[in-house]
Subunit: 250 residues, 3 copies
């Protein structure tokens, strides 16, 4: 391999920082095998985005394929939001356990959910699952003050969330981003002053967003909603092997 | 499955409404199998876009793979436009029949074709194939009045078209869309007043476009030019399992 | 096949003009097989983009898969830029030879490299490899005068480069393009007046860019950084089988 080159340090798997959290929005069996063959060493968790798990024809086989290679599978938060709207939390728990899935996401990006109620859901789910909670709205029109971001993140970690995800969507245009995809830098700075970034996963689907976080937090920043076809590219950005970060690291 | 949730009604396959019409612009054998494994229940017809069929190395195997799973294959209209320009309609018919393909698209998005001549082509092809005709130009600069859209659609249905497709291209920036991808809402309203939407397939490659049509026409609207990797996402939009339509349905 | 149609002439493989140069930024084993099954006849060289080769888990198998089908593999220039920054050129040569790769790219899109030194690297590498050199910066802010482009291209060809690539990146927004992706037409005209276009490969990831080059240079223009999923589309553009070039050729 290229061990004649000096590259930035990267935590080895299983990692608690430097996590690459991948968005699967409908990959087929060969695509899953391809992703694992090329990049298993760079993938820490796969999210079956929003409610895709409910309409995926081959769900049990997909879950097994990831887990056999040591990659945990997480269900998207939007599915749980529908479940909460319909008051079916315990049915959901049974269904997820039946699938052998051990990571779930708790979000309120679309539905209106009292924060104490969200914390109660997080607490309930930590009994059976590793919980990733998510802060931030999926609407461009809902904007939280930085102090409210910090307060919600702290309370969700206290309630038992393993990591808290900062919202960006598949598009990277809401939550911690302006509508044009630019990072809300002041917001991130305030969050960073209060919270250990190792406890956060920043959704960062766009290359410019990934570059920004790597330059500001280092190679081992936790990044989420990474498209499967961008996993290898992200790994090169973390190591200074793409033009965008080459001069930052070398 | 998630039968503990109440979801919007969806017609079962084979459907005449609620159709998802997928654009294949060069998928390989494993990609076709992946698409069918994950989403066969959500796919009603696959179009081999524009003239891709003429340069696809493995065409007969691709056609067979779809048909074995009950998914009809349709040839893109642009290929037929070249055929018409060269006066080779009967050669085309023989070639398509030899491939075992039973759906063809008749369009005039690029070439200038007298509408009576287009209707004659539709009539001729209905003898051997199920015909999808398409209305609308591929040029941003060609704009038809709503009444002309309605008149052309009605005549093409009368000529024997199974469904009429409204043009959007792969980009979603022409035909029934403004150059920025926004739906021409007044145009769609006038078409809807005159034509049963079940006889139409709206090309809607963009997520915002899909969301607009689902909110205005319901879960069972016919949508076309769906990218293979967006089929599962579209199904979640139809069922209110993605943030964009969750509050509309739940 | 569609031999009843009259289509523009295309050079057969192995070609020296009409080259389609494909960007692989992390394809898996099935994706490589899919690409070859559908489009091997249209692919002349595959580049493992920037430093992706250094983090691809299954690199030797990937290289073998392409080569077995007669498709040469080339390493991205950015990886070599890191190598040059660290003074490891001979280690790089040994590593690449060990992989059985026989094409390399020499670029200075990110690092500052004296042009004489770049020419010396090209000369050195021609002893062991077929060299594609690249002219142009990856930064939007670095703009060369047309005369400097011509001078650099001529010197790099003199130094032994097989072809010179004009920079466009994966995004198509730098080098020979304006930030909005439009072709710098005056620049291309000046290059064309001085250099045989058969000695150039124009990076052209966007469809509009591909259309522009095909209309100005013909079906057999050399185009680079083509996304795998766009190879078939590009072939249809070259043959007038897509709306964008239909009336140009038919």
């Amino acid at each position: 391999m290229t061990d004649f080159l000096t590259l930035p340090e990267r935590s080895p798997k299983p990692r608690t920082t430097g996590i690459t959290h991948v968005l699967d929005k409908g990959l087929g069996p060969s695509q899953v095998q391809d992703l694992l063959a090329v990049a298993a060493g760079s993938i820490d968790i796969v999210k079956l985005g929003w409610g895709t798990a409910a309409v995926t024809n081959n769900l049990p086989a997909k879950v097994a394929a990831y887990q056999e290679r040591g990659v945990p599978v997480c269900l998207g938060g939007t599915l749980l939001e529908v479940v909460l709207k319909q008051g079916k939390l315990e049915d959901y728990v049974r269904w997820v356990k039946g699938l052998g899935i051990d990571h779930v996401e708790v979000s309120d990006g679309t539905i209106a959910l009292d924060h104490d109620e969200k914390l109660a859901v997080i607490k309930r789910l930590t009994k059976d699952f590793t919980v990733l909670s998510e802060v931030g709205s999926k609407s461009e029109n809902v904007i939280f003050a930085p102090k409210r971001w910090v307060m919600m993140i702290e309370k969700e970690l206290d309630a038992g969330a393993w990591k808290v995800i900062t919202e960006g969507r598949e598009s990277g245009t809401v939550g911690v981003y302006h509508a044009d995809g630019a990072v809300k830098e002041g917001l991130i700075d305030e969050i960073r002053d209060a919270i250990d970034p190792g406890q956060l996963v920043f959704e960062a689907p766009g290359k410019k967003q990934q570059v920004w976080f790597i330059k500001h937090f280092g190679s081992d920043v936790n990044l989420g909603n990474i498209a499967p076809e961008e996993v290898i590219s992200l790994e090169t950005l973390r190591l200074g092997l793409r033009g965008d970060t080459l001069l930052h690291f070398h």
